[in-house]
Amino acid sequence: MAEITMIDAIRQAMDDELARDENVFIVGEDVGKRGGVFRATVGLFEKYGGERVIDSPLAELSIVGVGIGAALYGMRPICEIQFADFIYPAFNQIVSEAAKMCYRSNGEWTVPMVIRAPYGGGIGGGLYHSQSVEAFFAHIPGLKVVIPSNPYDAKGLLKAAVRDPNPVIYLEPKKGYRLIRGEVPDGDYTVPIGPANVTRQGSDLTVYAYGMMHYYTLQAAEKLAGEGVDVEVVDLRTLYPVDKQTVLESVRKTGKALIVHEDNLTGGYGGEIAAIIAEEAFTDLDAPVRRLCGPDVPAVPFSHPLQDWFMPNPDKIAQAMRDLAAY
């Protein structure tokens, strides 16, 4: 097994799927000749040609709209939104059309489409290149929302997303594109959409995270292990539909829950996990459910000190773990 980066895993998944199914195609800004601004599609234009790796105009509404139309005709589009920050022009297409098609047509029509979008801060991207958008979409029945935290899941989940009969929002932690490495087996495999993954067993408290924050959470948990605190880490992987069983099993074991995400606190996805725990595991709780999230400010600041202030990091996560462990 080769150790590769997140971005390589994502490219391999698309390469595999383009090769496996001729209905699969990629559409997005600069995905063709340029190979994508993050080089996710590099080489695919040359390999599969301009009709399957399509450079689109700078119009996200049309990227998704084209995807929906093609999907309704039996194609398997992979729409790339260059930064998740730019997804809002397509919001109406995603929420009102793609998400509702199957329901609205009583299952006769589905939209087997993947929307890939790099999200998250900590990369000096400032206001328009750092946003986390998962909470908007994890609110919409008819969508699936997936966020990988490592190369293995990135490849397996993307392949599963391409093969899924309904629209999948596939959000990529862009800070981890080249930072997070991991072993990925050769050959075809998928990671099913739905199940969360307990990536570290522990007994003192559970931390729920995804994407880049999961990567940091594992580092913080390692640090806490040296201090005698045994942290269990759950990588949610699929935010919608959420794997309630794994979420509840873990907190029932540890009695304490911390949710970490870089998206703003209020109305963030962590609130949903907290609510599930409060509703269904109340009598297993030994402490208040806590959240460590981005603050409620309008954007991730461009200034590096302010960006550091905004972003959760291993130190902040470790401190939140200590506080909860001590409760």
């Binding site: 003192d204 009695g255 109340f282 009598t283 297993d284 709780l285 030994d286 402490a287 001590a326 409760y327």
Partner: protein, 449 residues
Amino acid sequence: MATKVIMPQLGESVVEGTVTTWLKKEGETIAEFESLLEINTDKVDTEIPSPAGGTILKIIVPEGQTVTAGTILAWIGEPGEVLQAEPAAPPAEPVEAKPVEAKSVEAKPAEAARDLGFISPVVARLAADKKVDLTRVKGTGQGGRITKKDVLDYLEKGEKAEPAAVAAPWETPGEGDLFRPTELQFGAGEMSAAGLRQAQPATPDQPAAPAQPATPAQPAKGGEQLIPHTTMRKRIAEHMVNSKHTSPHVTTVMEADFKRVVAHYEKNKDVFARDGVKLTYTAYFAAATATALRAFPLVNSSWSDEGVMIHPQVNLAIAVSLGAEGLIVPVIPNADGLSLLGLARAIHDIATRARAHRLNPDDVRGGTFSITNHGTSGSLFATPVINQPQCAILGVGAVQKRAVVVEGDAIAVRPMVYLSLTFDHRILDGASADGFLAKIVDVLNNWPD
């Protein structure tokens, strides 16, 4: 913003205190630093000044209750101010709470009875499911909160210990009366010689009396009275047992001729009285002891595993009896630097304040050697218990006129006193202890005019 009044930590080792009297009631106003309540610790009684001016919004700990240092006792603020909820710290030892007065019971009986802090949902469920009495579970969480882990640890350890406690006092290898202890079949009383005749095996149609499990604590029969331990009584008991467990005690006794001391006393007591100082024999014992401690620094010490710690200061602790209540041992720091007048004044001061329960926490700390004057109650000599972590204690007997053989083989009537020195045999051997005691005797025998 309301201000909390917390139980202060009145000394290094003082971790709890009992609220004896509230000097203000809820709703009354108080100035900053005005005395708000009186508390009693194992060492001293003291008044607690108010940390802020305002109205007493709420008294949380009623009179008679013992709580750990840091516990919120009351809130002071503006009239009508709403208090923020804060979990109260657990009571130190609820069993030793003195009877609570009726009016404070009315105040908040529920809070007073249940100070376990916040009980989390899982702790509540575990306690209910496993029938755990949470007052017996030690809390290790924030503010002493009982965590899930604490309950699980208690269950794990408790389940091992519990069955032993509740198990039948006998083990039965099989069913039937044959295998039951006879006293359980017939009742212990019937096993006496007089009752033996009646002790026939029970027939099937004449069932045996139900077995009475032996209970360790028999209910009091008529006339017996249980005096609940006071804080001071408990601490005295702890210290005495601890001391006997800690040091190998050896007591050596010598006697001193008090002729010269008595002469000095008679000559000077009025002079001292004019200075407002009550001269007592205790001052002479203290002076002689301080001198001897300077000459024998090894006695002014404490044992540690690393070595014997010699204390640079001579801080004399003087036992003061409080009658039936107990006794307390306030300290005269740097006693070797005081004149007889200074010692007499210091002894009078601490003894007066001790009897009035007006000692400060510092007054009972840092003693390096103790003196107990058991002679005041007529005792001739005694084997006092060392005041840990000190090395030795001097017991002073009654000054008594006795016929003694003096120089020239004459028999004379002299005021004599036995001095008993109990010492830690780990630090001192008999010879060195006797050398120290002989020094005291020498100072007293040869007291200058």
